[in-house]
């Protein structure tokens, strides 16, 4: 494992996490479509076959249910599989395996058969991808009891959350915001590993709280920066872990400002953003000066590249929502 700060993209951080996990634990196996010699279409598995051999990182036939199903069997039999779904919408063929087995096997067997496995899902938009390549599918998994669902917003979190996911005794759906793959950042891999289940305040602020995760955190931060220019102090929380959810950090943040906007890229209806809005309201009702607002994707299929900017939560849309938080009542 590297030590001290290095400049890494999220793609590199994920690659490093896989590499370190495989070196540390010989029961970690990586497989999926094109993850072998090609290194994955996003190169997250680059070099793993060369370094660890064909047995440890390998290509499978093109069948997502088969991939996840085989991972279930390997996890039953002493392995820690890490599988890649090539894009968000291409995990749907594996939905039955995920909902009916990955999520339920520990419970089904009264705890006798745990499934320590990771399903990596590059997700969400912002890369000009064509249809089926940009879905924000986290709600499907977050709604399914038994799945841990995490999503990093920085290279450092990507590294640590993936290490934690691979070490987890439970199955983790690891959602990778693909538009963040390439941006580089200082990462200190020798820093203490934040546990799964912890949100983090990315920016302090006193007037209102933006609650976000994954691909939308950067936009929330930009919005906070813009608001600061206009004299409004916005706090930004990155949930990081969708299941389990860090109610403590999020609610403390919301109570401290009394106003909140949830920002997420997925279509809003019956989404993780709905959940956050609902639970924050339940818990912080009397601290709230205004209803929790949601800035989410519209309830439409993900748009073609030329229109995607209208679907993504934008700085302006976030600021509009903040403006709407009934400041006149102050």
């Amino acid at each position: 494992m590297a030590t001290g700060p290095t400049k890494l993209s999220m793609a590199q951080a994920l690659n490093q996490a896989l590499r370190d996990a495989m070196a540390e634990d010989e029961t970690v196996y990586v497989f999926g479509e094109d993850v072998g010699p090609l290194g994955g279409v996003f190169r997250i598995t680059d070099g793993l076959t060369a370094e660890f051999g064909e047995d440890r990182c390998f290509d499978t036939p093109l069948a997502e249910s088969g991939i996840v199903g085989m991972a279930v069997g390997m996890a039953m039999n002493g392995m820690r599989p890490v599988v890649e779904m090539q894009f968000d919408a291409f995990a749907y063929p594996a939905f039955e395996q995920i909902a009916s087995h990955v999520a339920k096997t520990r419970n089904r067997t009264r705890g006798r058969v745990g499934l320590p496995m990771v399903i990596r899902v590059p997700y969400a938009g912002g890369i000009g991808g064509v249809e089926h390549h940009c879905d924000s599918s986290e709600a499907y998994y977050a709604h399914t009891p038994g799945l841990t669902v995490v999503t990093p917003a920085t290279p450092a979190d990507a590294y640590f959350l993936l290490r934690g996911a691979i070490r987890s005794e439970d199955p983790v759906v690891f959602m990778e915001p693909k538009k963040l793959y390439w941006g580089k950042e200082e990462v200190d891999l020798s820093a203490p590993e934040p546990p799964i289940g912890r949100a983090v305040v990315r920016r302090p602020g006193t007037d209102a709280t933006l609650i976000s995760y994954g691909p939308s955190v950067a936009t929330a931060l930009e919005a906070a920066e813009a608001a600061a220019q206009e004299g409004r102090s916005l706090q930004v929380v990155d949930a990081r872990s969708l299941v389990p959810f860090d109610d403590d950090t999020v609610c403390e943040a919301v109570r401290s400002t009394g106003r909140a906007v949830v920002v997420a890229e997925a279509s809003g209806y019956a989404s993780v953003a709905s959940e956050i809005a609902a639970r924050v309201t339940e818990r912080c009702f009397h601290s709230l000066a205004a209803p929790v607002r949601r800035v989410t994707g519209f309830d439409i299929p993900y748009p073609p590249p030329k229109l995607e900017r209208f679907q993504l939560p934008s700085v302006d849309r976030i600021l509009d929502a903040v403006d709407d938080l009934q400041w006149e009542d102050q």
């Binding site: 069948a63 249910s65 199903g69 085989m70 069997g73 996890a75 039953m76 089904r108």
Partner: protein, 361 residues
């Protein structure tokens, strides 16, 4: 890629015994030895007793439902007996008799249908996966278990069971293909009992046989008379040996028949005539086996009595075990979702505990 035609099954299902229990001439495989046949007979008798006892418990309202393998006991016995101790069995809801033949306590197996919990036995204790309900979904798991074993250099074989209907699911296809590509030591054993609930085989496939699916994956396939215990054993023994020897996965189709309704909740008269069922009674695997053993004078009176007694003892233990009050604790609802409960689940568990305490639990 393998060469074609040797991947096709034989033109007719392999048979060692005819319907009267006499050995057939020119059989393509040798008979299993007498001790194995006697052990198989014992397993048939127990399997039948387990099936009929479970159905009786349903009628008495002690089990919600039971999908019986009555009439398919040769397949159930064969599936379990073909395996060594370190091997794995992947059964479906219909394969209780096979699970029991592998050594799992029937009362534990019936936990699901008693309503206490989902899987009632420890899958690692006898290397038996939970009985699968969503059709064909267990087949990729079987491939994964086999592949993991192979990667570790173990000589484990995995026997994966499914029905004729399940062969239509995408997971059947994906599992067979993965197994073939990775040369995973899996024996896919399809019990073709002619029905998927109400849907007859002709609505399930237009293939010459289900075993003909093997060649499309490069998997050697065979078919067998599924009510002919020695033939089932011989064919499965060979398939397991080949898989263990590194020859890759194997596909075996057993031609058998679902003698009873899908479950007690089903009404088979709505979709099939009793006329169709009658001839199958004469092909009963137990009768055939018994006739053969008697003719060969392998089954002494004493041995027979001993086997019957054992079956009765198993049935008695089932009745007693199912009658036992085993109501699960509500707190268990939250105990196994994750290795450690999330804060959310802890909160929900508390809510329930509070409700229960107020109700005076």
């Amino acid at each position: 890629m393998a060469d074609d035609r040797d991947l096709l099954p034989s033109e007719r299902p392999v048979r060692l015994l005819d319907e009267t229990g006499s050995p057939v001439a020119g059989a393509s495989l040798p008979f299993p030895d007498p001790e194995r046949l006697l052990a198989a007979y014992a397993s048939l008798v127990v399997g039948r007793r387990v099936n009929d006892q479970a159905s009786a418990l349903v009628r008495q309202g002690r089990l919600a439902v039971y999908p019986s393998s009555h009439g398919q006991e040769a397949c159930q016995t064969g599936a379990a007996m073909a395996l060594a101790e370190g091997d794995w069995l992947f059964p479906t809801y219909r394969d209780t008799a096979a699970v029991v033949a592998r050594g799992v306590d029937p009362v534990e197996v019936l936990t699901l249908l008693k309503g206490d919990w989902h899987a009632g036995y420890d899958p690692y204790a006898h290397r038996v996966a939970p009985q699968a309900t969503p059709l064909a979904t267990q087949l990729p798991h079987a491939v994964g278990v086999a592949h993991a074993a192979r990667l570790r250099g173990e000589d484990t074989v995995v026997m994966a069971l499914c029905g004729d209907g399940a062969t239509s699911e995408g997971d059947f296809h994906e599992a067979l293909n993965f197994a073939a590509v990775f040369r995973a030591p899996v024996v896919f054993f399809v019990q073709n009992n002619e029905y998927a609930i109400s849907v007859p085989l002709a609505r399930q496939t237009a293939a010459p046989s289900l075993a003909h699916k093997g060649i499309g994956y490069g998997i050697a396939a065979e078919r067998v008379d599924g009510n002919d215990t020695p033939a089932v054993l011989a064919v499965l023994d060979r398939a397991v040996a080949r898989a263990r020897a590194g020859e890759g996965p194997q596909l075996v189709e057993a031609h058998t028949y679902r003698m009873q309704a899908h479950t007690n909740a089903d009404d088979a008269t709505r979709y099939r005539d009793q006329d169709e069922v009658e001839p199958w009674k004469a092909r009963d695997p137990l009768l055939r086996m018994e006739a053969y053993l008697k003719r060969r004078r392998l089954l002494t009176k004493a041995r027979r009595a001993e086997i019957t007694d054992r079956a009765e003892a198993v049935a008695a233990a089932m009745r007693e075990g199912i009658a036992r009050d085993t109501d699960p604790e509500p707190a268990e609802l939250f105990a196994h979702v994750f290795a450690a409960p999330t804060p959310q689940l802890a909160e929900q568990a508390e809510l329930l505990a509070d409700e229960l305490s107020r109700e005076g639990h």
